[in-house]
Structures are given as structure tokens and as C-alpha cells.
Symmetry: C2
Subunit: 207 residues, 2 copies
DNA sequence: TGGGCCATCAACCGATCGGTTGATTCGCCG
DNA sequence: CGGCGAATCAACCGATCGGTTGATGGCCCA
């Protein structure tokens, strides 16, 4: 009997997950939570074996929730369940010790098997996610804080001079940063750099 | 007894919705579908009163699904149920005749009431969506197909000359289109235009 | 203590872009 | 029928950008 905690901000999704596991003797859903802080509280009380959680939630970022869960509830396995458009969030989540990462369009049977595997301590990755992790890429495209800061301003319409003024540096430095950004993102101009940044999650709508 | 068709590409979400309505005598879930084409097929067979559907789906865009549903199944009410990050899709959906638009984090009870209202032919909008519709904005920023096409190529790193070659027009025309885009999006350069396009959903990650 | 990454700056060049003005054609709506 | 938006093109200009090369200092890790 695997003790399961479900964390998602959508009641509908929680219901769906609950329904999948409730009718199965191998599992017991011991709690639900709608956001990170709530998850932490519920976890200490219910001591789940496996936490099934979405990364995109209000109030606390996914990676931090995972870290704290593992701190306060030793032995818990965190299985991340989210949508495909979180490329950039997968690595931080795995780094904080998530045991696996599944897409929300995973069929029921596969999801069930994944939770069983997670409870046994086995890593489970959906195939597309496995692709992201094994692809020879993201080490290269990781931007420094400063580079991302410059790119963010560019996305908001700043010229090199504007950026220089705002960051108290010279235009020469801004250009250097941008050239590094272009190289890392494998593009040739700022417009494409902005696009790639949105595609990969370096920049996010509404933030 | 309201006949309900559930359309969503995530099995988990379908389960959740199914669970909410299955135990309720006022509703009968007559079918489920994972994408647009499937929804159309299932709808002709099951003749639902209300279709509860996600906008973001593979194979066919949401607005088109709504239009065809209403063509082939007169009297059907389409209630859109999706996440907050689809700003730009709300208006097309309503234009195609969706009776309402709810967010996926809507509580169960409210969702139930919304379906009842939709079945009666009443418009239902979640408050945040109502805000989008009443806000004085989007008429201005609507881009023509051609303008969007140009912007899309720019986002992929094309220079004006590249765009001209690809679309079989001159650079002068490309510049004109882009200037119109800048004016409509209220920006001054292509990088910011790309950013705004992603922010407003004119361009989308992975598509 | 040496190498790497990061941040900073410089000077120069050609290429591209943004802005302006003006014009033609086409199709749709009333 | 007239008007309007969309799409197309032209020529010109100054501003900005992208590319290159090279240099300095700080920091961390091995």
C-alpha cells in the first residue's frame, strides 16, 4: 500500500489523479494540496511515500517545494507531473531530487506503473523528457545572470544604449554580453534570441 | 439530465471532469475525446447538450473545433475550460460561438453551476476572463495574417532580406509590414515585437 | 598558482534596421 | 459608388546593430 500525496493547483486535475488511484488497492491517497506551502504542511501530517506534484504552482516555485519536502520528510519520493512546456524547469527539479518527471498526458496505466516504480526508488522519465535530459545541449545554452538580465531588457525594447544606462555599464559591455547570448542560443540577432528565450523558458510570459 | 461531452488531451483531466459529473444525477457523461477530430466524431454519435473542452489541443485548433461542432450539432453549447495563459485564444473562441469560458482551477461546485447555466443557454465567464473581454485593448493589436507571418520569420532569426526572399516580396514590403507590427504592438524594434508576441500569445512556444 | 568563467571596457567597420513619405492595386463593406 | 484596410513597392537617411580583436580584473576551483 503506497501512501500518496497529490499536489496540484487545479481541483479538476486533483480529482482525476484521485480517481485513478482511489480504486486501486495498491495505493492510498493520504492527502491533497493546492500549492507548495500547503503541500509541506500536509506532508508532515500524512507522511506519504510518494508525492505526485505539478511544477507550475502559485506561491512557491516547484524546485523549492521539492527540496523542502525531502528535507522535512526523509525517504519521500517526489514524482513531478506537468505539461510539456516546462523544459527549463525539468533540470532544476531533478537537481532537487525529484525521482521522476512525467507529462500530464501520460496514460493511466503508465502513470500507475510510474508511481510503483518511484516508490521502489526507481527513476522514471517520460520519453520526451528523457530526450531533453540526454540531448547534448543545455549546458551550453545556460546564460549567466547578467546575460539574462541584458536579454530581458532587450525583450522589453531597450537598445544597447538603454541597457547600458540602466545597468550602469558601457555599451561595449552590453554588446559583449549580447554576443555571448547569441553564441549560447545559437542565433544571430536579438529578435531571434528573444524568441529562443521564450521557447526554452529562459523568459516566461507574464514574468 | 444534461448530456455532456468531455474533450481534453490529458487523460487525467478527463478523469477529473468525469468524476465530478458522474456521481451527479443532473448530468450524464455521454462521451470523451482527446482531440478535435475525435470530438467531432463522438459528438455526431452521442448528441451532447454541452461540450466541455480545452482550447489547447493537438491536431486542430480550438476555434475551428468549436465552429464545426456547432455546424454539425445544432443546439450544442460549447463551454471552454482552459488555463489562464491563453489570453489571445479567448476572443476567437467566443467569436466562434462558445457559450462560456472557465479556468481549470475553477472549484467543482462553480463548474457544475456553469454547466447548468450553459445548458440553459446562459453565458458563463470566469471573472478573470470577463476582465480580458471588457478591457479596452485587443482590437488595436490584431495583426493581419501577413504581418504575423513576417513576425514569425523574424522570431526565427530572419533578416528583412531573408523574409523578402522566403515570401517572394521585396524588402520594402517587409519593412512596411514590420512597421505596422511595431505600431500595433506599441514597440520600437523587432526584438520587443517578438517578446510582446509571446506575451500575448500571438506566437507560442513550440509552434 | 594556473586555468576558466564572468564582467567590464575599447575602437572600428560594414550591414542592417527604423523612420519617413509617397504610391498602386485589390477586395470587402455599406 | 466611395472608402477603407491590406498588401505591395520605392528611395533615402541616420541610427543601431553585429562582428572582430584585444585587454583588464575578479573569482572560484583544482
Amino acid at each position: 500500500m503506497i501512501r500518496l500525496l497529490i499536489v496540484d493547483d487545479h481541483p479538476i486535475v486533483r480529482d482525476g489523479l484521485h480517481g485513478i488511484f482511489a480504486g486501486d488497492d495498491s495505493f492510498e491517497v493520504v492527502g491533497e494540496a493546492a500549492d507548495g506551502p500547503e503541500a509541506l504542511v500536509v506532508a508532515v501530517r500524512t507522511r506519504p511515500d510518494v508525492v505526485l506534484m505539478d511544477l507550475r504552482m502559485p506561491k512557491m516555485n516547484g524546485a523549492e517545494v521539492i527540496r523542502r519536502l525531502r528535507e522535512q520528510t526523509p525517504g519521500v519520493q517526489v514524482l513531478v507531473l506537468t505539461t510539456f512546456d516546462d523544459d527549463a524547469d525539468v533540470l532544476p527539479a531533478m537537481k532537487e531530487g525529484a525521482i521522476g518527471y512525467l507529462l500530464k498526458d501520460t496514460p493511466r496505466a503508465e502513470l500507475r506503473n510510474a508511481v510503483l516504480a518511484a516508490a521502489r526508488g526507481e527513476t522514471v522519465l517520460s520519453s520526451t523528457v528523457a530526450g531533453i535530459l540526454t540531448a547534448p545541449q543545455q549546458q551550453q545554452q545556460r546564460l549567466s545572470d547578467r546575460e539574462l538580465e541584458v536579454l530581458g531588457l532587450v525583450a522589453r525594447g531597450a537598445t544597447n544604449r538603454d541597457v547600458a544606462t540602466k545597468l550602469f555599464i558601457t555599451e561595449a559591455t552590453v554588446k559583449t554580453h549580447l554576443l555571448h547570448v547569441f553564441a549560447k542560443l545559437e542565433v544571430n540577432d536579438r529578435a531571434a534570441a528573444v524568441a529562443v528565450a521564450y521557447e526554452t523558458g529562459l523568459l516566461k510570459p507574464g514574468g
